[in-house]
Assembly symmetry: C2
Homo-oligomer: 308 residues x 2
Amino acid sequence: MPEVVLAIDIGGTTVKGSVFVDGNEVPPGSTVPTFEKSSGAFDAVLAVLSALAGTARALGHEPTAIGVGTPGLVDRRAGMVRYAANLGWTNLPLGQLLETRFGVPTLIDHDARTAARAEMAARPALRNFVFIPIGTGVSAAVVVAGKTVAGARGQAGELGHIPTVPNGRPCSCGQFGCLEAYASAGAVLARYIAGGGNAESAADVAGVVGKDGLANEVWADAVNSLATGITTLTATLDPEEIIIGGGLGAAGSVLLDPLREKVESLLRWRDPPAISASRAGPRAGLLGAALLGSAARSNSTHTGQESS
Amino acid sequence: MPEVVLAIDIGGTTVKGSVFVDGNEVPPGSTVPTFEKSSGAFDAVLAVLSALAGTARALGHEPTAIGVGTPGLVDRRAGMVRYAANLGWTNLPLGQLLETRFGVPTLIDHDARTAARAEMAARPALRNFVFIPIGTGVSAAVVVAGKTVAGARGQAGELGHIPTVPNGRPCSCGQFGCLEAYASAGAVLARYIAGGGNAESAADVAGVVGKDGLANEVWADAVNSLATGITTLTATLDPEEIIIGGGLGAAGSVLLDPLREKVESLLRWRDPPAISASRAGPRAGLLGAALLGSAARSNSTHTGQESS
């Protein structure tokens, strides 16, 4: 019997999904491009999963597992989203709800840790690294000795809410000067527009860095906040590499070059880690969710051990 | 045959040591109270170990292993101190030198990670925590799922050199605004004296907090820098507890109370971790070195696995 995983990647405003049969993606994927917060996010998850189940059955395959990457404070073992501000979820037993609804073993995890599984699969020799997806928010998956660090209550990874600028800009979390208030795609765009710039997306801002004073300023603040976070993680955890992913991670050298320079200047007392772009790219979350689904199935049939 | 471990704890200006027979400390310990930098530190290590070997033999015990906690960038697997600014060491093969000199298996590790072994032994149920010893310098041992995190090149733990104040005070590492430039015992004392205060030690400064405006100011900066570091580690790693040790850690509630308050205020979007004083106290480094020595012996005789 083939392994048929329904994999979904929940973002701040969209839900993406695909079917993976024995590890191979079956096109086409399903996406709910935008949804309303609160109950809307869960309905969007159900809609995408139902569509994926339909896709699988049309191909003659019965779904065998579900894998879900979601933002927020996620307790993977309990299958619980403790808190996801952008989705309006508090203590949502997402794993159990989906298992009951679709009748197959389900594993959920934090979106960054889920995407990090795809990076690990792409580079199995890399055992100690930090994966930082930059999109609507900024988070981090810390991988130590080949395992993702979930923390005591599954709440690790909230790099977006570390203090980087004393008494700085207000953040959605209620604090001031958080990394996310400078370096997220949303913050870059909002600051550029607030300063009188004209742009539709953070990518537009990235496109005029070097030619536009306001873009230079906003971008430098984003780079400095990210560099502060990366410097702190490197000093305390000594990762071999920092991998930048997510939508803004696709900006390439306009982000990575100044980021490498700034991190190096803050770490003159030791070798800086390599800083690279995600190998799995914007589909890392979905590929990781498929790997998570495989682990769910292994767990349920007692044929294997989940690795992290 | 009893297990006879020579355990030493190398500090910025002193080397302390004790003999442990089957896990029990044999008094009295040996200490070289102060030494000169550069070659002086290694001579001090040899002097203490020779004295300890003499103590053991006088009791009728032949040494069976050596355990060493040392500051700096330490590669435990290679037995190498990559860089220790305060000791003047660069790429010193300390483990091998001591094995050759004393003829017994030797394990060395970073001082904070070594001391964290004593905290783990004191509280085996605690699996995810960060141990922060505050003394001449400030470092951190991150413990994830019961194992210390050494990093890709054994250089994890340098919490003292994370940026906490943009364009802040100069640090010995060459950077500006490092945590250590505000929160180490040396920084607290130096800033108090530079401001016109009269004190012999950081403990003296701690003793007048609440009664002396200058002490209040210096102390608040130390607390704020530590809180920034703890907030960042909590957001990204979600430890169950933060354990404060080292000389300044003994300050007790004058440090822990405002630190808890500040960390809580920076983490309103999630539950803060517990912040506690070291259970093993100022002898954590020495007790941890004894546990390290036990692991060295187990490794060499293939009777056990080293745990971290």
